[in-house]
């Protein structure tokens, strides 16, 4: 995996929400932290092209996020802050199958893929359930399944343990740590990212710190205490 920001900048309604940034990400586990409104989500959305740079360039494995949308999105799966917003169809197995639309598979092949991803997360019993009936933890697993069925190379997760109780938080943390894919996680849950390879700290739309988790997390705690 190779993510590059080359003087990439994001603006929203004339306001700069991410100042020009140049960096390369190749690590397998990357954490993103920062206060609310610091530019974390914008940064993550730029990686899979949901937000395109107002200036500069972002590439994923050499593909430009502004012009190579199809390649970028097939390589980068995205889990939204609220998994309810991620799930398009009301029955779980149908929603997971919807993600396979562009792969032109037969009905049987789609079914096999859906069954495999449900089994991977141990949620086969939820296949026919209505999404609004699922618990917070189940919803996160459902969102994971709906994205990972397309086999992305990197998974971007926006606050996956947000609004979960301790039990569901532990379930999602365990799942995140067990993922084989490259993972980039935005989180206020510092325990989740403590063991990651690299952590980025954003503040006021700028990259404030970048490095090993203990150092960057300490910097974040200092910032929060100020």
């Amino acid at each position: 995996m190779d993510i590059r920001f080359e003087q990439a900048e994001a603006r929203f309604e004339g306001r700069t929400v991410l100042h020009p940034l140049t960096l390369t990400l190749t690590e397998r586990r990357i954490g993103i932290i920062g206060l609310n409104g610091s530019g974390k989500t914008t940064f993550a959305r730029m990686i899979n092209g949901l937000v395109t740079p107002a200036a500069g360039r972002v590439t994923l494995n050499g593909f430009d996020t502004a012009s190579d949308g199809e390649q970028v999105r097939s390589a980068a799966g995205f889990i939204f802050q609220n998994p309810q917003n991620q799930i398009v169809l009301p029955i779980l197995k149908e929603d997971i199958a919807l993600g396979l639309t562009s792969r032109k598979l037969s009905r049987e092949e789609k079914q096999a893929e859906v069954n495999a991803v449900l089994a991977r997360f141990g949620i086969e019993h939820l296949a026919d359930r209505r999404v609004h009936e699922l618990s917070g933890g189940e919803l996160q697993l459902a969102a994971l399944a709906s994205v990972l069925v397309t086999r992305p190379e990197i998974l971007i997760m926006d606050e996956p343990t947000n609004q979960l109780d301790l039990r569901n938080r532990a379930l999602v943390e365990k799942t995140v740590h067990s993922l084989e894919e490259n993972v980039l996680v935005i989180s206020h849950d510092l325990d989740l990212i403590a063991g990651f390879d690299r952590v980025l700290l954003f503040h006021d739309g700028r990259l404030l710190a970048d490095g090993e988790p203990p150092v960057v997390i300490d910097r974040y705690r200092t910032l929060c205490a100020a």
Binding site: V51, G69, R130
Partner: protein, 209 residues
């Protein structure tokens, strides 16, 4: 995320979605080809009998149909005032028959089946360059999927008014409903883009934190 679909294994659930949607289209055309109260009443009876055979229960049926029945009643009153009782009766029976059958089809056809069927039906139009079949199927499927969602939002806003002791005015109900619906539509669109469900269409800057 509620759904109009009711899971089950009735004969109508098992019937091909294409046949159901085609049948509904033909039924609606026939309804508009006649003004006979007897024929239209028979159509209401037929639609009602099909609906009753699904055994969805009175409560669910009422919840599903109450809004459309209110609209039909308003339309009937206007027709009565403008065109007289004969036309009003025809409008009422025609629309009730159509609404009941359409509700039954919707309750026995999942959103995914809707999308697949409409996409397949639109393929010939795609071949002559008129539409993109997958987009059309997805769009219509999302409309079906969003109907209960919008109603649930309306009820939540109405409850919030009650909880705060505010008088319910059309404007104070409609404005937050429209804003919330548009915001949610934007989020769903972002999810569809992110998951690569439809053709690639890079969006400009969305929400950021």
């Amino acid at each position: 995320m509620k759904t109009l679909y009711v899971q089950g294994n009735t004969w109508l659930h098992r019937l091909s979605p294409g046949l159901k949607l085609g049948g509904l289209a033909v039924f609606s055309l026939l309804l508009f080809a006649t003004r006979s109260p007897v024929v239209l009443a028979a159509a209401v009876f037929l639609a009602g009998a099909i609906h009753a055979s699904m055994r969805f229960g009175v409560v669910r049926t009422w919840q599903q149909l109450r809004v459309i029945l209110l609209s039909i009643s308003i339309l009937t009153v206007f027709t009565l005032l403008l065109n007289g009782p004969a036309d009003a009766l025809a409008v009422f029976l025609r629309l009730v028959a159509l609404a009941v059958l359409a509700a039954t089809i919707t309750a026995t056809t999942s959103t995914a089946e809707f999308i697949d069927t409409i996409t397949a039906g639109a393929r010939p139009l795609e071949r002559i360059g008129l539409v993109k079949a997958a987009d059309l199927g997805l769009a219509i499927g999302l409309v079906v999927r969003f109907v209960p969602e919008v109603l649930a939002r309306y009820e939540a806003i109405r409850d919030a008014h009650r909880a705060r002791g505010l008088k319910q005015r059309p404007l104070t109900l409609a404005v937050p409903l429209i804003i919330q619906t548009l915001r949610h539509a934007d989020e769903i669109a972002a999810a569809i883009d992110a998951r690569g469900i439809r053709g690639q269409n890079n969006r400009k800057l969305g929400e950021g934190s």
